[in-house]
């Protein structure tokens, strides 16, 4: 009896295993497809590996480094990004042969790990800095001010795209050099425009034009109109192009209950209720880029990451991109950026600063931009972007009124308040006035606590 039961258990387990393996081959079309794009990235297909580090190093070492300096460099990133930085380190080795760079990539939970390392005194000498790390490290003096080293190396703040340095400046000192950046462009599916019988977008488009087309596309019933989640980053270009902002320039006052913000919130809220705007979850996508790839929506705003994503996951889908549309007051985009910073406790400040300056310098940035991985942080190199869609998206970042959504140490809380307000509006839970009055109070509580 007992052995019979055991036999049945074994059989059941093997049946379970077979069942678990089966759906991959015979999944019905209604089954949810939920692949995570990041895990599938084949590093070998990336152009980065095809372009080996050029031995033709033209420059000399930015700074006279210490004898026999060994510095540790750390950042996040998948295999592709790691290869790009390995190549960069090799190029740096050619111009500063005396310095040894040890690369320690941390693909996951980089910020958490770095804060713990910093508190324990074992942080790397040079590392990626984003707004979160800037807020954690700069006020307590954990980052090296780079201005003197920059002067010595002949590098100036004016060499960089101005909006990028906002995050990494504190009390007039520069604590990080922008390593790359991203922005949003209007990404669309030409076949959706054909199906709806409307003209494809042009450079002259305004948000109103976008709305008219989105309505026409949604009316076909085949595609969603414009895809946008309840997300502060996607909402920021609307606000910036209406002359608005989330907080005052000194980061002390929230400005979420201003007409500039509320007009645009009404605009997207109305689009949602008329059905021309959909959230990615509404159409069964985890983000709007995937909704374009799956041909579920006609338009969205996404960034340069679309280029590689579409190549890898939806190579046969035709898509196009343009600069972000015109707003009621101006044309403005939102910019995302990260920097390279130096640990204030480094043993080799000259070597570390030289490495940070080299990584973000024109020579190295010119090489990285060629891989299609990231945009150069130098305005002069803006036209080096290879892919035409990518070039169109990136042009929004150079507009005069484009800015970062950075509001000081409590940036995360302010932005979160905006996302939640949009969520409440989309849900029909609150009116625009109520939602942004609440967001204003929440953001003000966060800003006031500092």
């Amino acid at each position: 009896m007992k052995s019979l039961a055991k036999l049945f258990t074994l059989m059941f387990i093997s049946v379970l295993l077979l069942v678990a393996c089966a759906p991959a081959t015979e999944a019905p079309t209604e089954m949810p497809a939920t692949e995570a794009p990041a895990t599938e990235m084949p590093a070998t297909e990336m152009p980065a590996t095809e372009a080996p580090a050029t031995g033709a190093a033209t420059g000399s070492c930015p700074l006279p480094a210490e004898e026999g300096a060994t510095i540790v460099f750390s950042g996040w990133g998948d295999e592709t990004e790691q290869q790009i930085y390995r190549d960069s380190i090799e190029r740096f080795g050619n111009v500063c042969p005396g310095v040894t760079v040890e690369y320690q990539p941390v693909p996951d939970k980089f910020q958490d790990k770095l804060k713990a390392q910093m508190a324990g005194g074992t942080a790397p000498d040079v590392f990626y800095v984003d707004d979160q790390l800037m807020n954690a490290f700069a006020p307590s003096g954990q980052l090296l001010a780079l201005d003197e080293y920059m002067t010595q190396a002949g590098v100036s703040r004016e060499d960089f795209i101005p909006a990028l340095l906002t995050i990494f400046t504190q009390d007039g000192q520069t604590y990080g050099l922008p390593k790359d950046w991203g922005t949003l462009g209007l990404v669309y599916l030409p076949e959706a425009f054909q199906a709806a019988g409307v003209d494809e977008p042009t450079e002259a488009w305004t948000w109103e034009d976008m709305r008219t087309a989105a309505k026409a596309i949604a009316d076909t019933g085949q595609y969603g109109g414009f895809c946008m989640g309840a997300d502060w980053a996607r909402f920021a270009p609307f606000v910036f192009s209406n002359g608005g902002s989330f907080a005052s320039d000194d980061f002390t006052t929230a400005t979420l209950d201003t007409p500039e913000v509320k007009e645009m919130a009404t605009f997207v809220g109305d689009m949602y209720s008329e059905g021309s705007l959909v959230k990615p979850a509404d159409v069964g996508a985890s983000w709007c880029g995937e909704a374009i790839g799956k041909k579920l929506v006609g338009m969205t705003t996404e960034g340069g990451w679309m280029v590689n994503f579409m190549k890898q996951s939806y190579a046969d889908v035709e898509w196009k991109a343009l600069q972000i549309p015109n707003g009621p007051v101006t044309r403005a985009d939102v910019i995302f950026t990260n920097a390279i910073g130096v640990n204030a406790a480094t043993q080799y400040p000259n070597a570390a600063a030289a490495f940070a300056i080299y990584l973000t310098g024109e020579e190295n940035q010119g090489e990285i931009v060629k891989t299609g991985f990231a945009y150069s942080t130098h305005p002069a190199q803006a036209d080096l972007v290879v892919d035409p869609n990518d070039l169109a998206i990136s042009s929004g970042g150079l507009l005069e009124d484009t800015r970062v959504a950075f509001w000081g140490p409590n940036t995360g809380k302010v932005n979160d308040a905006v996302s939640q307000a949009l969520d409440r509006i989309f849900l029909g839970d609150q009116t625009v006035d109520e939602a942004f009055a609440q967001a204003q109070a929440e953001a003000q509580a966060a800003l006031g606590s500092q």
């Binding site: 089954m31 949810p32 939920t34 005194g121 979160q132 069964g284 809380k413 500092q450």
Partner: protein
């Protein structure tokens, strides 16, 4: 051992210096542990020599050491008093010294890595501490900040998280306990393939909660399996089903009921809305994974029940339900207490599902105290706020203590009858 001790008077006179020595040993051990747990920066520069470390301690940790010094003097006095009393009795003296000697390896490790850290956290909860600069004394500010949501709705996060976990406990604990008893009783009955069913039922508990959460995230998608299944099942009866984004829907249970009758609960009264759909989806997943763990406990307890009790009852004409009500349940009471207490502690501390699936959203309806502790301690949304995080952790610990105390009083009192 005999009590006939020729050296008794000599020992009696030496108990004062021994008591003084005990005092200093306790103080020195505690101060050393405090020194290791001081809020300093680490790293090669600081840790290079003892003097560089002490310089760092002087810079950042003097108030902390002062606080621990007060505590260690109190504990040292207690130790000295005990020694002073026990010393004249050779047997008790022997037991005392040997006992602590045997305990000392474990005791020192626990004191350093558990008690020391808790003391540190307790001290930090009265400070403003960003883990880089020396702690800054702020008194009870952090504790007051936790409850500031009562007066300023913009700072409702912690209150909302408490509200969420209370609903969570209220629904998850009774359901999973009842389900565990039901499963255990079924598996204890004389049925075929008992082992097979035990394996199947227990499988969710041995699977990692991270894996289960990821699988459930796919199930819960708007285009996921659960919506698909419900739509197909309802389709058989010709009913339609509007897909729900389970993990992204902040509408509350009470809110849905009120709205069905045409009422409305505004967003400002979030505390009246009940648990959100997203939160209930996580509850369901939690019940699914923990009920089988407790089932094993009940199964073990069931097998301890004397079968003659059932025999006698059936001779007296009791039916199966009466036997369950009058014999099984009363005899399971101690285990029910254990399961309810463990369940409550576990639910009040829920974290991993939230961290993986929702990050506290939508609209804060799945925020939990532990998630906020994590968020503040690591500075996910703002500056690192270790002091505030510690204060929240202590408030949560007090709350768990309070609920456990209540449960012991109510459930354990009942068990004494049997």
């Amino acid at each position: 051992m005999t009590t006939n001790d020729p050296q008794g008077s000599a020992i009696r006179s030496s108990r004062t210096p021994v008591a003084i020595a005990a005092f200093f040993v306790v103080v020195i051990i505690l101060m050393t542990i405090a020194l290791f747990n001081a809020p300093t920066m680490g790293g090669p520069r600081v840790m290079a020599t003892a003097s560089t470390y002490l310089a760092e301690v002087r810079r950042t940790a003097l108030p902390f050491l002062g606080a621990v010094a007060l505590l260690s003097i109190v504990l040292g006095l207690v130790a000295a008093r005990t020694i002073y009393r026990e010393w004249p009795h050779p047997r008790r003296r022997h037991n005392l010294i040997m006992g602590y000697l045997f305990l000392s390896p474990y005791l020192l490790i626990t004191l350093t890595f558990t008690v020391g850290v808790v003391l540190f956290a307790f001290y930090i909860s009265f400070n403003n501490y960003d883990i880089f600069t020396p702690p800054e004394w702020t008194g009870l500010d952090n504790y007051a900040k936790a409850f500031r949501g009562f007066t300023n709705p913009a700072e409702k996060d912690f209150l909302q998280s408490l509200h969420n976990v209370l609903w969570y406990s209220l629904i998850v604990v009774p359901t999973q306990t009842a389900l565990a008893i039901l499963l255990a009783v079924l598996l204890n009955a004389r049925i075929r393939f008992k082992q097979l069913f035990r394996t199947i039922f227990y499988a969710p508990s041995v699977t990692s909660s991270v894996v289960i959460t990821l699988i459930f995230m796919w199930f819960y998608l708007k285009t996921g399996y659960i919506n698909f299944f419900i739509a197909k099942s309802l389709g058989i009866f010709g009913l339609s089903w509007e897909n729900i984004n389970w993990l992204g829907d902040p509408r509350g249970l009470i809110q849905l009921i009120v709205e069905a009758f045409g009422g409305r609960i505004p967003s400002a009264q979030w505390y009246l809305r009940g648990p959100s759909i997203a939160w209930m989806a996580i509850m369901f997943q939690n019940i699914f994974t923990t009920a089988p763990t407790f089932m094993i406990m009940f199964l073990a307890a069931l097998q301890d029940i004397n079968p003659t009790l059932y025999e006698a009852a059936s001779i007296d004409g009791a039916n199966a339900w009466q036997q369950f009500r009058k014999i099984t349940l009363p005899l399971l009471r101690p285990i029910i207490l254990l399961v309810v207490v463990l369940g409550t502690i576990g639910t009040l501390q829920v974290f991993d599902q939230v961290y993986l699936a929702t990050s506290g959203g939508p609209l804060g309806t799945s925020l939990t105290p532990v998630y906020i502790v994590f968020r503040e301690a690591l500075g996910i949304l703002g500056p690192i706020n270790m002091g505030y995080a510690s204060a929240l952790a202590f408030i949560l610990a007090l709350l768990i203590f309070f609920f456990t105390f209540l449960q012991r009083r109510f459930i354990e009192r009942g068990t004494e009858l049997y």
